[in-house]
């Protein structure tokens, strides 16, 4: 899986690359408009992280260029601008997703995984981890081929864990992920604890192993 990171802030793009490398993605970085244009000309990336505010051009123009060749799949716009018009323009031009800065790297990872799953035409939108089978299209979870009865929030939580497996996820990051666009966001971490507790209980009842480990003082990890 090759990912192009178009972001002019060097440290940020390096950090993103570092994190994604650990997920076994191969990352390339373009720090400005022209480098980005060169790179997309030479390779068809699985996913492109696109910052709109580049020093020497507007990131949306890169998107336009991709649209010409009908290659806009897998573009996630990351932007500081928070402007509704940009969001609408970007999505209209064919971008898959839009993420506001600042974001948690684990959140970015989850979005990239979703986008790449959507790109797969071979119907393999399922994620298999040991006895877990997650059908991301139907949004259902099977343990040992038996359907797991969970709520929407618990599904999102499980998917988040699985996509970021073996990563220590802080309660903060989990809370942010679950609150999504909810105005002021979750800031009560007891809720996170409650949801995870319920999820673990349901998994245990369905006969699944407990991969969700609580790391004292840090958060949780889906350990496989």
């Amino acid at each position: 899986m090759k990912i192009l990171i178009v972001e002019d802030e060097e440290k940020l793009s390096e950090n993103i690359a570092l994190y994604l490398n650990q997920e076994n993605y191969v990352c390339e970085i373009a720090l400005n408009f022209h480098t980005a244009m060169d790179k997309i000309g030479g390779f068809d990336y699985d996913c492109i992280l696109l910052d709109i505010t580049l020093p020497d051009g507007n990131g949306l123009n890169i998107l336009r260029e991709l649209k010409k060749d009908k290659r806009t799949n897998g573009v996630i716009i990351i932007s500081a601008k928070n402007a509704l018009e940009d969001k609408i323009d970007g999505l209209n031009l064919g971008a898959d997703d839009y993420l506001d800065k600042p974001f948690h790297l684990s959140e970015l990872s989850a979005r990239i995984a979703a986008v790449i799953r959507r790109r797969r035409f071979d119907g393999s939108s399922n994620i298999v981890v040991n006895e877990f089978l997650i059908d991301t299209v139907a949004r259902t979870v099977f343990i040992n081929n038996k359907l797991l009865e969970i709520t929407k929030m618990q599904y999102d939580l499980l998917l988040y864990f699985v996509v970021n497996k073996n990563r220590v996820l802080s309660k903060l990051a989990i809370a942010e992920h679950l609150s999504d666009d909810n105005a002021e966001g979750f800031d009560n971490y007891d809720v996170v604890y409650a949801h995870i507790k319920n999820l673990k209980k349901k998994i245990a009842e369905a006969g699944g192993n407990d991969y969700i480990k609580s790391i004292y003082g840090m958060g949780y990890k889906f350990e496989v």
Binding site: N15, Y19, A80, A183, E184, D190, Y216, M218
Partner: protein, 417 residues
């Protein structure tokens, strides 16, 4: 008082004073001049009389109208000029005369001579002159007032026009004053200066706003970089408990900073008039949409929601602003309602009211409530702070009213559309 009246009272006041002083003064001066003239005539008469008495005896002396009276005297009197009121039987009234008394000798005998002249004619002349003077001055006054009236209509209109525009001017609404040119130099100069001044101010103001917006944007990226570094740090396990706590604190602070930054950005945009896409919004649908998002939050604190949206209607406003407004109010209600409390929503077609059980039944400090960055209750994690400021600005932009009241042991926030 009005400028025209200010000027008018002075002109007319001075004119009146001049009138009041000058007329009597003029009268008195003229009178004295007349008396002097009469005295001069009487002096000639005295010389003529003395000449006559050389050849005519006093008993046979005849004067016109008996105006020269010669009588023998024992003792001489002082020569003098004076006024005397004498009764005239012919006219049946007292008439004022100018009198000259002097002494003369004729045939060795001392005589006292009295020459008198009626002042009636001269008085008449004097009064006529005075009347004319008063007349002229009164006409002048009248004309002054009429001119003043017409000036008010023609000259002051552009001035008041300018004043009116200034009165209505708001730096964040209009581009700049566009005052017209005028034939009157001062008004033209005034208008030109005001146009330049407001244009310049507007430019500075816009630059400031843009700066705030740009600065906010710029801040997002370093915050993002920091967050990503913290995320990576988090992954470098094992972390000691101490380190974990520190990284956690850093992350929390970073999130708070970024939320604050986003709020400031929103405020700048609201002020910059970037939300002007107005359309019909159904308040009940909007409120329900937002309530759904907070379902879990409310359930978790066991807060019951009572809502009365039967009377709600539609309003004409920007959707994003409305979502932000209602969202902030509901979010505030959620955060500041104690466990097992109540949140009451009442929507009508011209108002939105949301009340939540007050903490320990105590009302909030109205004074501090809407001021940015004020922390109301210290045990609440997040202050009302900027959320309410955003609500307030949105209401200003959309021409709504927002206020707080405490009733029924609940804190109520009311928005009037």
């Amino acid at each position: 008082m009005k400028l025209t009246n200010h000027i008018a009272t002075r002109y007319i006041g001075v004119a009146t004073i001049v009138l009041l002083i000058s007329v009597p003064l003029f009268y008195v001066v003229l009178q004295r001049v007349m008396w002097n003239s009469i005295d001069e005539t009487m002096r000639f008469q005295k010389e003529w009389t003395e000449e006559q008495l050389k050849t005519i005896s006093p008993e046979h002396f005849v004067s016109f109208n008996n105006d020269i009276i010669i009588l023998p005297r024992l003792f001489p009197y002082k020569e003098r000029y004076y006024n005397e009121n004498i009764y005239i039987p012919y006219d049946n009234e007292m008439v004022t005369f100018r009198v000259l008394e002097f002494n003369t000798k004729a045939g060795g005998i001392l005589y006292g001579v009295r020459i008198q002249k009626s002042l009636v004619e001269s008085e008449d002349v004097l009064q006529a002159i005075a009347a004319m003077q008063i007349g002229v001055l009164l006409i002048l006054l009248l004309v002054l007032m009429l001119i003043n009236r017409s000036l008010q209509k023609n000259v002051w209109i552009p001035f008041y026009n300018t004043l009116d525009k200034l009165h209505k001017y708001r730096i964040d609404r209009e581009e700049s004053l566009n005052l017209p040119t005028s034939k009157i130099e001062e008004i033209d100069s005034l208008n030109r200066s005001l146009n330049d001044l407001t244009k310049h101010n507007k430019e500075i103001f816009t630059t400031q706003k843009e700066f705030t917006e740009n600065a906010s944007h710029e801040l997002q990226t370093p915050l993002a970089t920091m967050q990503s570094s913290l995320d990576l740090l988090w992954q470098t396990s094992p972390l000691s408990e101490e380190q974990a706590i520190l990284v956690q604190n850093l992350t929390e602070t970073n999130i708070r900073m970024s939320k604050l930054n986003k709020s400031l950005l929103l405020l700048a945009k609201i002020d910059n008039n970037q939300f002007t896409d107005k359309k019909e919004i159904h308040m009940d649908k909007l409120t329900e949409k937002i309530l759904v998002q907070y379902e879990n939050n409310f359930a978790q604190k066991n807060i019951q929601i009572q809502n009365d949206i039967s009377l709600s209607g539609t309003i004409f406003a920007d959707e994003t602003l409305m979502e932000t407004l209602i969202g902030n109010l509901i979010s505030n209600a959620f955060r500041h309602t104690p466990l097992n409390g109540y949140v009451d929503l009442q929507i009508s077609n011209n108002s939105f009211k949301i009340g939540n059980t007050a903490n320990e039944g105590q009302p909030l400090d109205k004074e501090k409530l809407f001021r940015r960055f004020q922390k109301q209750q210290l045990n609440i994690q997040n202050s009302f702070g900027i959320g309410l400021e955003i609500c307030r600005r949105i209401c200003i932009q959309s021409d709504f009213d927002i206020y707080y009241e405490f009733s029924d042991r609940k804190n109520w926030f009311v928005v009037i559309f």
